[in-house]
Amino acid sequence: MSETNPAPGGPAIDEQAITAAVDAALAAIAAAPDTATLKQVRIDHVGDASVLSTANRAIKDLPKDQKAAAGKLVGQGKGRVQQALAARQGELAAAEEEAALAAETVDMTLPTDRRPRGAAHPLSTLTDRIEDFFVGIGWEIAEGPEAESSWLNFDALNADPEHPSRSLQDSIYLAPEGSGMLLRTQTSPVQVRAMLERGAPLYVACPGTVYRADEIDATHSPVFHQVEGLAIDKGLTMANLVGTLDAFAAHLFGGAPVTRLRPNHFPFTEPSAEMDFRCFSCDARLGLDHDADPECRVCGGTGWIEMGGCGMVHPNVLRAAGVDPEEYQGFAFGLGIERILMLRNSVADMRDMVEGDVRFSQHYGTEI
């Protein structure tokens, strides 16, 4: 390059000036403290009026032989400046974003309960779990009305006309006297309905609300919930009853539970039994060779929890429901859902479940 002989009519493309302009731009870029300043730096050093842009525009007027060298000089200089600008822009933007986010910090421990979530009643949730167990072993869930006919609640279930449970002291009847209708005292009429409607073979569980003329206290309520099971098929035995109860107990209380049957009497089953589950709370749960804790709140020191009645369905019940007892036989059992909840979740007083106090349900949320 020669410092003499500048191009006529245009600024000379002076290597020194270009280098100085580039150096000045790089210095300004490095010194820019924020993106706003950097924006001005960009305008000053590579904007239209800048030395580099002016030089760039001048290239086209240079003599042909100088164009290449000048283009290279200006182009490379401008490229360096642009690269530095982009890098600095990235640095500054990141720092600024970081600062901005830091300024937006909030207290994450503030309460967020503007509209608290509600809750399911634990009896509903437990009933769902029980239903899920039976559905899981291939049974179905049957339902029926709570105001029921005496025939379905008693006669069809082989209850003698004199049976004390029919009395006004035990059962709640619909008016007027002799209506032949009452609030069902058990969910067994649902079993009869299921047999009448679907016939055999049949595997159903019947959860539902039942009514007794009981005084309310810590362990009794005139309105409570039961789940009954009924399996009718060819060749079902008491061993199948035991197997079903074992599986049910394992599902509800976990572990490898032990169940026990004791002879009892019910009109609707023969043979009949009372079913006990081995206590799931104290040492008794470890097996029959382990003694119960005498102070155990769940089993009262006996090692066993009375769960309800069961047995092989009485042939008269099958006949009433239109099932031929010569061809089919089966088993049935019934448990109180409140009782399971009280034992499993340590509910001390049954009244808490039936008075509708929201604090009782709220405690559980929607899972138990």
Binding site: L110, P111, R114, R115, G118, A119, A120, H121, L123, S124, D128, V135, I137, W139, P145, E146, A147, S149, S150, D155, N158, E162, P164, S167, L168, I172, L174, A175, P176, G178, S179, M181, L196, Y203, A213, P222, A231, D233, T237, M238, A239, N240, V242, G243, D246, L261, P263, H265, E270, P271, N316, R319, A320, V354, E355, G356, V358, R359, S361, T366
Partner: protein, 863 residues
């Protein structure tokens, strides 16, 4: 329920040495006799016989005189030497020194001493103590202190051997007085199921104990020697002209006379003790013997004062208006169904309620010497009804209503007569009245494999036969694979092969039954409705409502409280015959009837707001009359089932909710919004959406809602009909006031079953076009009375297929739109499935929408 003293039980079966009450209870529960209670030994520790060696009377300042006594309590318990600082009275010998306040004994008497370490009834622990200047090293006991009750001879004081409580007893100093007085007896109270009447006796329970343990058993009924009668005794007539359910009220009546009994004869101590342990009060020899034999054998007995009887004894039903004063001194008006024991001319005098309770007129008294013992077989149904009717659950009725062995009457009467003569003298008449018949249980044909088929255990032939014979059945083979089984007279409950299977199963043991989970053929899971209900409930819980479960019983005035019009369907409530509470005689016809009082209760317990829901049954009387009661054990006809269905109340499950007060706690984010009518609608819609259904809201005046802030909720059925399924809105201020709820409390109720039924079974896919949407806003001015839903519907009509979404985003009233008018602003999103909408197309749709709204509701586009 029967109480079984172990020493009594051991008389009929072998109780291994040291068997406690808990073990007996466990054994009995295995064969089906459940434990009700256990009564342990009443006295523990060193209670011994002592001989009074010295007795010094010491008057005290308080006016009392105490006895300072030296007692020989046997070599094992005596102190060899007196304490030099506190010597005992008289000559120093091995003994103990005791202070005693009673005076009914003298030197030389044998008494009962509780030494330190003894625990008396009432957890009363005896220890040595200093009193009246001497150490009292134990206590000389009275009958009361030992739980034996007051002295039977009326000697108010301590027990002296040979007298009173200890009549006939003697011993040596140091002898165990617990055993001597029978104070160690443990008692098990058992629960007897209705099919096991024979277990209301020591005879029956001992038999069951032997079944449970294999212990030897001797039937006490077989031990009674019944002499041949020389003729008929007192005349008895059994005249039942109105049998209940076809069963004669009295099938057998035994009358046996005993004369010349010493009226002053005492009940032997052991018998009185056993009666007490079994829960009965000793009264007099004759009465106690009848009770004792009843407890032992199970046959209720009654003793009449023969001098007061005027034969013949007639067993008959009561006549209308007849009265009887029973032994409990209550005058009772009799029912024509009551079976009576009567005598006198024309059987006009009522002696007692047969099998339930005797009357006062022929009661044995302190001067009775001649008696007639009654031992009869009464119909269980008749006795049960009479006992229930007169609220008289007597020891006799408890046994008769469960069935008493019909072979017992003569045996029991004879046994009682023998015991009376043994302890009270007199003569048993050689003439015996034994009127009536005994029906033994019918034989049952049993397949040899019946038990295996039902229980699932391969019982051996030996187990089948052995079990049945053990319980008293006669078993005969019938061909290759059947048995003919005749149950014993005391097992009227054994009627079917299944009954016998239970006997085999329980004697071999329920514990032997294996555990086999059956394989069901595979179900269909939860039904659509079952799943949907869960979804709806879950949706409400997630939206902030708490589920409650309250009973369906409501007061009679609830319909007025909720302002139902006179002809409102919800007044068609089911009334209960015997409600739990007189002030809640109806079943709810709406869930709100239950939820509003529950809301009040929660507020009363300190809640500041209420947001509750419940799904449950509501009931409406069908007006279908009484439900028929078809015969048992056979399938009713379709007509009978239809008649039952028609009589039953209409029942459905509904979802109801009440919400009022702040919807959350005070928050740093701003004050919580109050629950209100919009929430009621929104929650109802959420519940419906959760089951896949959509609600239509129509403004209506419906109780119990605010007249201007209530709506009925509708769905479109699968048949295309719009039906009402519920209501939602703000509660009427009067209702809010009646239940003390927060201002503007809102509620909704949905017939959730109908809502579920309206949801499409299958939701078909909607196309998802990818062409850009066009967003257009409109503000229409309409009359105040025009519902927003009508404007929205008109917009949808105008937009036609292009409407993707129509959403109201603003409501404005004010001067600018004019009095009685409002401006409703809608955001409308249009999209075509065929291409990008052009300005011309959009303009056309706008015009179409404006025209549709104008024509449907008279709306004008706001400039």
């Amino acid at each position: 329920m029967p109480r079984i003293p172990l020493t009594w039980l051991a008389e009929h079966t072998t109780l291994p040495e040291g068997t406690g009450a808990q073990q007996v209870a466990t054994d009995l529960s295995r064969v089906g006799l459940e434990e009700e209670a256990i009564f342990g030994a009443q006295v523990t520790g060193p209670l011994v016989v002592g001989r009074v060696l010295e007795l010094v009377k010491e008057p005290q300042k308080n006016g009392k005189t105490i006895n300072w006594v030296r007692v020989d309590v046997g070599p094992e318990h005596n102190e060899d030497l007196d304490d030099p600082k506190d010597p005992q009275p008289g000559q120093e010998r091995p003994s103990r020194g005791i202070i005693c306040g009673a005076h009914n004994f003298v030197e030389g008497d044998l008494v009962v001493v509780s030494l330190p370490g003894t625990v008396l009834p009432g957890d009363f622990a005896i220890a040595a103590r200093k009193t009246y200047g001497h150490t009292s090293d134990g206590m000389i006991c009275s009958g009361d202190e030992l739980g034996l009750g007051p002295d039977p001879d009326g000697e108010d004081g301590i027990i002296v051997l040979g007298r009173g409580h200890a009549k006939g007893l003697t011993g040596e100093p140091g002898d165990d007085a617990i055993a001597l007085l029978g104070l160690a007896d443990e008692v098990v109270e058992i629960n007897v199921t209705p099919d096991r009447g024979y277990c209301f006796s020591m005879r029956g329970v001992a038999r069951e104990y032997s079944h449970a343990t294999g212990a030897a058993y001797t039937d006490p009924a077989l031990a009674v020697e019944v002499p041949a009668a020389s003729g008929t005794g007192v005349a008895v007539e059994r005249r039942d002209d109105a049998p209940l359910r076809g069963a004669e009220g009295c099938t057998r009546f035994v009358a046996l006379e005993v004369t010349g009994v010493d009226p002053s004869a005492q009940t032997p101590r052991w018998m009185a003790r056993r009666l007490t342990l079994a829960g009965m009060r000793p009264i007099s020899l004759i009465v106690d013997v009848t009770n004792y034999v009843m407890l032992d054998l199970g046959q209720p007995l009654h003793a009449y004062d023969a001098a007061k009887l005027s034969a013949p004894i007639v067993v008959r039903r009561a006549r209308a208006g007849e009265k009887l004063t029973t032994l409990d001194d209550v005058e009772r008006t009799l029912d024509p169904e009551d079976l009576l024991i009567t005598d006198g001319a024309d059987a006009s005098r009522v002696l007692g309620l047969a099998g339930v309770m005797g009357g006062a007129s022929t009661e044995v008294s302190a001067s009775t010497t001649d008696i007639v013992l009654e031992a009869a077989t009464f119909d269980p149904v008749s006795v049960a009804r009479t006992a229930r009717r007169h609220r008289l659950p007597s020891e006799a009725s408890k046994r008769f209503e469960r069935g008493v062995d019909p072979r017992l009457p003569l045996i029991a009467a004879t046994r009682a007569a023998q015991l009376i003569v043994e302890h009270g003298g007199g003569t048993i008449a050689r003439e015996v009245t034994d009127d009536g018949t005994v029906t033994d249980p019918a034989p049952i044909r049993l397949a040899a494999d019946a038990a295996e088929r039902l229980v699932g255990i391969p019982y051996t032939a030996e187990q089948v036969r052995g079990s049945l014979e053990q319980i008293g059945c006669a078993v005969e083979p019938d061909g290759e694979d059947h048995l003919v089984v005749t149950p014993p007279s005391w097992r009227p409950d054994l009627l079917l092969a299944e009954d016998l299977v239970e006997e085999i199963a329980r004697l071999v043991g329920y514990a032997e039954i294996p555990s086999v989970l059956p394989t069901a053929p595979g179900g269909r899971g939860l039904t659509v409705a079952q799943r949907a209900r869960r979804s709806a409930q879950r949706a409400l819980a997630e939206a902030g409502l708490v589920e409650v479960k309250v009973s369906p019983f409501v007061p009679a005035d609830v319909h007025d409280t909720l302002r139902y019009p006179a002809d409102d369907e919800r007044r068609r409530a089911v009334r209960l015959l015997n409600p739990l509470a007189e002030d809640e005689p109806l079943l709810r016809t709406s869930m709100l009837q239950s939820l509003l009082p529950t809301a009040r209760r929660n507020l009363g317990r300190g809640e500041e707001s209420v947001a509750i829901f419940q799904r449950g049954s509501v009931f409406r009387a069908s007006g279908g009359g009484a439900a028929p009661v078809p015969a048992p054990a056979t399938r009713p006809s379709e007509a009978e089932l239809a008649a039952i269905a028609a009589a039953l109340p209409e029942q459905t499950s509904v979802l109801g909710a009440v919400q009022g007060g702040p919807s959350g706690p005070d928050s740093w984010q701003g004050a919580p919004e109050a629950w209100g009518w919009t929430d009621a609608l929104d929650l109802a819609r959420r519940a419906a959406a959760a089951v896949g259904a959509e609600l239509e809201v129509r403004q209506r005046e419906i109780a119990p809602l605010h007249p201007g802030r209530g709506a009925e909720l509708r769905v479109l059925t699968s048949a295309g009909d719009s039906v009402v399924v519920g209501l939602a809105g703000e509660l009427h201020p009067a209702v809010i006031k009646a239940f003390g709820l927060p201002a503007r409390t809102a509620a909704f109720e949905l017939d959730i079953e109908a809502v579920i039924a309206s949801a499409p079974a299958v939701v078909l896919a909607a196309p998802v076009p990818t062409f850009p949407p066009a967003k257009e806003d409109f503000a229409f001015v309409v009359e105040e009375s025009v519902p927003a839903s009508a404007v929205e519907a008109a917009i949808l009509v105008g937009a036609g297929d292009l409407a993707e979404r129509v959403h109201l985003f603003d409501v404005f009233t004010g001067e600018q739109v004019g009095e009685g008018r409002k401006s409703l602003a809608f955001a409308v999103r249009l999209r075509s499935a065929e291409g990008t909408l052009g300005a011309k197309q959009i303009g056309a749709v706008r015009e179409s929408i404006v025209a549709a709204v104008a024509s449907a509701v008279g709306g004008e586009l706001r400039a």
